[in-house]
């Protein structure tokens, strides 16, 4: 692909609201995870919760969209000058030439889940349960489009935990086809009962903080997050570059990765080909690294077979938790911070490295100039996406 400049980006997770608090936490090798105390959930697990969402409603003009997921989106949009950058792009290209392509897995499902506890005698849901603007998968796309009065094409990709990586590819194609000149991409996913109890039902939740690449890793810690990037056909001051995207499917199992990571290998190779780069050009890999025994084992083999075992890599999910449909966007933003500052972030919480895993996994931060990095995002349904991002300068 033709490299696409990224003119603004931001992220909000349990690690911090916006880039600077996130960077402070990364530099300090600090985690945003804590033992779960979310609503009345009684599960022995850790979560990455963004503080204050329950008590901060949306502005009145956007009240139809008010739910945890869109509140998180709104909070994220206000950081790092992102909203101003979108308004400038709208001014420059026109409201009909800016796309909104976001990823989520559960959108505003939480409010419907809670509404089911308050059904009327005839079974009806209470009036505050809103399907279109809150529960529906597209609600976050409609919300962001409305928040900026945009009139371009928009959709929400929902491919589980690769959702917000894949939208970078969709945006690049829309721009290449000449349908738009800019696109807001990224993802928003927020805590809800379906994911907490769902991953629990699959015995994939760690009872302690998640430990990617640890010999005793016991599963994931769920987080929530909002991350956005603004891609433009050209820009005077790029903050980073989208260099390549690779997408694939395992075609193997709905909830277990291919043991050799065959689909993941295909995605990483496709991303390298798309960027016309070789494995040696990649200075850091942000792993999917969920800390489930099967994910980390399969990803270790897959990355090793494409890159060998020297490329520094880590999973940042020990810091943010697994933000599911937002993970691709969140980790793309972390990669852009890594590129900017030459910071290779540590993978947290490893007590005993797994001797069966062979990658050069970073147990502490490293500092080195980076030119290009790769981020992996895989998900249920066998979906895989790899992004390659480049430094601004």
């Amino acid at each position: 692909m033709t490299p696409l400049p990224i003119s603004a980006y931001t992220l909000t997770t349990a690690l911090g609201v916006g880039r600077e608090p996130t960077l402070d936490a990364l530099r300090a090798e600090r985690s945003g995870l804590a033992a779960a105390r979310f609503l009345d959930v009684e599960l022995p697990t850790w979560i990455g919760e963004v503080a204050g969402l329950a008590t901060t409603p949306l502005p009145a003009a956007l009240a139809d969209f008010d739910c945890r997921n869109n509140r998180l989106a709104w909070l994220g949009l206000q950081q790092d000058g992102f909203a101003d950058a979108v308004l400038a792009a709208r001014e420059r290209w026109g409201a009909d030439r800016v796309a909104v392509l976001l990823g989520t897995s559960t959108a505003g499902l939480l409010e419907t889940e809670l509404g089911y506890r308050r059904r009327e005698p005839d079974g009806a849901l209470p009036d505050d349960v809103r399907y279109r603007d809150r529960q529906n998968t597209y609600s976050v796309g409609a919300f962001v489009t409305r928040a900026f009065d945009l009139r371009g094409p928009s959709w929400v990709v929902s491919t589980a935990c690769s959702s917000s990586a894949k939208v970078f590819a969709s945006a690049a194609r829309l721009i290449a086809a000449g349908l738009v000149d800019a696109a807001i991409v990224g993802g928003v996913d927020s805590l809800c009962l379906t994911t907490l109890y769902g991953f629990n039902s699959l015995e994939l939740l760690s009872p302690e903080v998640c430990r990617p690449w640890d010999a005793q890793r016991r599963g994931l810690s769920i987080g929530e997050g909002a991350a956005f990037a603004l891609l433009e056909r050209d820009t005077t001051a790029p903050q980073g570059w989208l260099l390549g995207v690779g997408e694939s499917n395992d075609g193997f199992h709905m909830s277990t990765p291919h043991p050799e990571g065959a689909g993941a290998i295909a995605a990483m190779r496709a991303a390298l080909a798309d960027a016309t780069l070789g494995p040696g050009d990649i200075g850091y890999i942000n792993l999917h690294g969920t800390a489930t025994p099967s994910n980390d084992a399969a990803e270790d083999r897959a990355v090793g077979s494409v890159f060998g075992q020297q490329t520094p890599c880590s999973s940042t999910k020990g810091a943010t938790g697994h933000t599911l449909g937002a993970a691709g966007g969140v980790e793309a933003a972390i990669c852009l911070l890594a590129l900017r500052d030459g910071l290779l972030p540590a993978g947290l919480h490893v007590q005993q490295p797994d001797p069966a895993l062979g990658l050069n996994y970073l147990h502490h931060n490293q500092h080195a100039p980076l030119r290009a990095v790769l981020s992996n995002s895989f998900g249920f349904g066998g979906t895989n996406a790899s992004l390659i991002l480049g430094r601004a300068g």
């Binding site: 928009s154 290449a176 997408e247 694939s248 395992d250």
Partner: protein, 276 residues
């Protein structure tokens, strides 16, 4: 210069699959769309997906059945090997009955939900099952744009065809919610449309379609279906939004323009041409 002229994007349609109330296959639908057969509404029958192993077949809910049925018909029609075929699945809301059972269980005293129900709750479940069934590692995207989901899927698929120069299978599907969600999202029935899209010069094309986006305020009214029953279906089920486009294909018009709904601010302008 209209937006549609500014950014024309042309693809060929090589195969079609269709399943909707009263329309049990593409040939049945084509005859109704041409006005050669009467439309007889009846709930769509969603067959168990023969491609899946028995265990998965039992677990396959209505959205998976619907997606597999129309996808199978389209690839058969195009005589194409699905193993190396990228896919785009567009659905307004995924599997409503599964969502309802999960919400009901999570509102009860014992919140232990079924792991299969959770796995199948992801929006990309039909895509996941399809790629398992046909053993495909090709790229797959699943998306929603609420009532504009078919058009969003068409844009994603057509831009993929342009980017890769290869065929893409587009599957649009919607299944109704049970109560109490049905009251909030009253989809009257299940409907699915599948298209094998290819570069515009592909051999064996049924039609060529040039698409572009137009401002909804300048697009004029959306193209209706000639048959009143189909027009009701088109206006009520997002996955049936393709019907006016398919009507132009079925009638083998030399050239026909249609306007399909997309977002409140945006419509899709499509010019359907008979190849040759």
């Amino acid at each position: 210069m209209s937006d549609a002229q500014r950014a024309p994007l042309e693809v060929a349609i090589r195969g079609i699959g269709l399943l909707a109330p009263g329309l049990s296959s593409w040939p049945v639908a084509a005859a109704v769309l041409r006005g050669e057969a009467a439309y007889a509404p009846a709930a769509a029958v969603l067959p168990p997906p023969a491609r899946l192993p028995p265990a998965e077949r039992r677990r396959a809910g209505p959205s998976i059945r619907l997606a597999m049925a129309v996808a199978d018909e389209a690839i058969g029609h195009a005589a194409i090997d699905p193993q190396h075929l990228a896919t785009v699945f567009a659905s307004s809301g995924g599997e409503g009955s599964n969502c309802h059972v999960l919400c009901e269980t999570l509102a009860g005293a014992d919140r232990q939900i079924s792991p299969t129900r959770f796995t199948n709750s992801v929006h990309n479940a039909p895509a996941g099952y399809w790629h398992i069934a046909v053993g495909s590692r090709s790229a797959s995207t699943s998306l929603s744009a609420y009532d504009g989901s078919f058009t969003a899927g068409l844009l994603e698929a057509a831009t993929q065809v342009l980017a890769t120069g290869s065929e893409v299978l587009l599957v649009a599907l919607d299944v109704p919610y049970p109560e109490p969600l049905h009251r909030l999202r009253p989809l009257p029935g299940a409907a699915g449309t599948a298209l094998v899209l290819a570069p515009p010069d592909a051999a064996g094309a049924l039609a060529r379609v040039a698409i572009g986006l137009v401002d909804a305020t300048r697009a004029g009214p959306l193209s209706p279906c000639a048959e009143p029953g189909l027009e009701t279906l088109r206006s009520q089920v997002p996955a049936a939004a393709a019907l006016p486009l398919l009507e132009a294909v079925a009638r083998r018009s030399i050239e026909q323009a249609v306007v399909l709904g997309y977002l409140p601010t945006l419509a899709l302008h499509a010019v359907v041409r008979r190849p040759g």
